[in-house]
């Protein structure tokens, strides 16, 4: 008990502030600090350094580590990745980065430009395709995105390609018509072949604060999400809200974005992520 008092109250106060400043959120930040104090009661000899390591491990453990479809055998037909999320978070860039990533692993990839709404969205993905020498399925601006998604999976199947990566338009989660459109894209992909292994990745921008909760909540209502991508971690934002999301929704973070180039994509490492929040 005397050792416990050695860590003065400022330690816990500062720790809570570090967590809050990392966008973990006030409730989860307080809960993590209280849990830590509880753990310390059972480990009275723990130093401040021990406590930080424990907290790091504790935060890292929140992230489930289910195997993605691309690490499993795919008996027939292409695996499909669908990238969704609100406006400007990095979906198109991440689609390009994923294409480069899978191609570097020796897989054959095709892209689908299913953002048929925003100015030059199709051009942007086609430019990525040109840079990476990967084909891009596209239609005219204004075309039905579900139709583009369908064509992309069909083309991947016909050409016996390993992966189809489909980019979609940004949409704010409170736009009911846009969310309905997304639901249709998902169901059309399943209709093309219900056996197709599909991962639907919600792309989250690390600079976003607590609104990430509403984004995840609303997107998962209309389409079964299989994982998250956290972008822009090369900036000063820590993306700590991902810890709260992991606790609540148990979705794995598949990758993180750390820049604007094709190679600026890393598989998610929960330990490194937790450390970057605390140090």
């Amino acid at each position: 008990d005397a050792l416990f008092r050695k860590k003065d109250p400022a330690f816990y106060h500062d720790l809570e502030e570090v967590l809050i400043s990392a966008d973990i959120g006030p409730v989860v930040a307080q809960q993590l600090v209280l849990d830590l104090q509880e753990w310390e009661k059972n480990h009275p000899e723990a130093t401040a350094e021990d406590s930080l390591s424990h907290l790091e491990a504790r935060m890292a453990q929140e992230f489930p580590s289910s195997q993605p479809i691309w690490e499993k055998e795919s008996p027939h037909g292409p695996q499909v990745l669908l990238l969704v999320g609100v406006n400007g978070v990095g979906k198109t860039t991440t689609t390009g980065k994923l294409a480069a990533y899978f191609k570097s692993q020796g897989r054959t990839v095709i892209l689908g430009a299913a953002d048929t709404f925003r100015a030059a969205a199709i051009d942007q993905l086609r430019r990525w395709g040109e840079q990476l020498e990967i084909p891009v399925v596209h239609q005219k601006p204004g075309a039905d995105p579900a139709s583009v998604a369908f064509d992309t999976v069909r083309a991947a199947r016909a050409r016996k390609l390993d992966m189809a990566l489909i980019d979609t338009a940004g949409r704010l989660q409170n736009k009911h018509n846009l969310m309905a459109e997304l639901q249709k894209i998902g169901s059309v992909i399943r209709k093309e072949d219900p056996e197709t292994p599909v991962e639907i990745l919600l792309v989250l921008d690390a600079t976003i604060g607590q609104n990430a909760h509403s984004q995840l909540e609303e997107f998962r209502k209309i389409t079964p999400l299989s994982g998250l991508v956290l972008t822009k971690l090369d900036g000063t934002s820590k993306g700590g809200v991902a810890v709260a999301l992991a606790q609540k929704y148990r979705l794995p973070v598949r990758f993180i974005g750390v820049g604007e180039k094709a190679t600026d994509l890393l598989p998610f490492d929960p330990g490194l992520f937790a450390r970057s929040i605390l140090r």
Partner: protein, 293 residues
């Protein structure tokens, strides 16, 4: 809601007289959580609650109001006051052209907002020119070109072989004189405030164009780093005004309060949708209610 939680605090109290110190402490604790959940930055929340503590302790409760209602009204009025109570608009240069710079983090809405501002001034009868100065992002130039076509505003595109924004300045100046444009809006590439090289590029570009207004475009759903980022842009480049985008979403928008209270620059407009007519004046009262939730 916050009102509900505050009612809960005062429901337990039966004492008459002014607001007791312990009730105020409980209130400030609830308020702190509410503001942090709304993405108001920690430093601003502390400052805000400190100032509020001094005013609330011993304060008499007005007739017809519950203590919770009184406190919420106090909080609301203070937020409205910080957010600024005058109509900010883009200042025009004493003689044309008025050059406006759009800058900010990646994906914040600069290109879309450039076109919105162009439409805003065109509708007022001004001669407007857009400059596609983002030569980094794939198809960024195409994006602004297409938006310009949609609203009938000419866009200066980089000439063949031009790869650096500063190499466009001469041809832009020429276009301005030839077309006698009154308002020139320069769209720039998204960048991190901690990217020294790109901040130097932007500073250099600013000295070449000498813009009347440098506008920081900020995504309203920004979290705790909103203050550091905006302060970074203000210190490196100089911010004359801020535009918050994507306010048609359901974010509480605490970043608006944080940025306004720290860098103290006027909020010129808000973006409230993807279509180019979705540019609105900033209304502090609406924002205050939204932040309080």
């Amino acid at each position: 809601s916050l009102t509900g939680r505050l009612e809960g605090i005062f429901h337990k109290l039966t004492g008459k007289g002014g607001l007791s110190e312990s009730a105020v402490e409980d209130t400030l604790r609830e308020l702190r959580v509410a503001l942090l959940e709304a993405d108001v930055s920690l430093a601003v929340v502390k400052e805000f609650t400190e100032a509020l503590r001094a005013r609330l302790v011993g304060q008499a409760v007005k007739a017809g109001l519950t203590p919770a209602q009184q406190i919420i009204t106090e909080v609301y009025k203070e937020i409205v006051h910080i957010l600024g109570d005058h109509r900010a608009n883009i200042a025009l240069a004493s003689k044309p052209p008025t050059i406006v710079f759009m800058m900010g983090l990646q994906g914040s809405g600069k290109t879309t907002t450039s076109a919105k501002i162009a439409l805003h001034f065109k509708t007022q009868g001004r001669r407007v020119l857009l400059v596609a100065s983002d030569l980094a992002r794939l198809a960024a130039v195409d994006q602004l070109r297409i938006l310009g076509e949609q609203i009938g505003v000419p866009v200066v595109l980089p000439s063949e072989g031009v790869t650096r924004p500063q190499d466009m300045v001469a041809s832009v100046r020429k276009r301005i004189l030839e077309g006698m444009y009154e308002i020139v809006i320069v769209d720039t590439a998204g960048r991190l405030s901690i990217d020294e090289e790109l901040m130097i590029e932007l500073k250099n570009l600013k000295s070449l164009y000498n813009p009347k207004e440098c506008l920081l475009v900020v995504d309203a759903m920004q979290g705790q780093e909103a203050v550091n980022v905006s302060r970074g842009f203000d210190q490196s480049i100089g911010v004359d005004g801020v535009i918050f985008t994507k306010l048609d979403g359901d974010t509480r928008g605490g970043a608006v309060l944080s940025i306004r209270s720290v860098i103290k620059k006027p909020i010129k407009f808000v973006g409230s949708g993807e279509k180019l007519d979705r540019l609105e004046p900033f209304i502090p009262e609406r924002m205050a209610s939204r932040i309080i939730g």
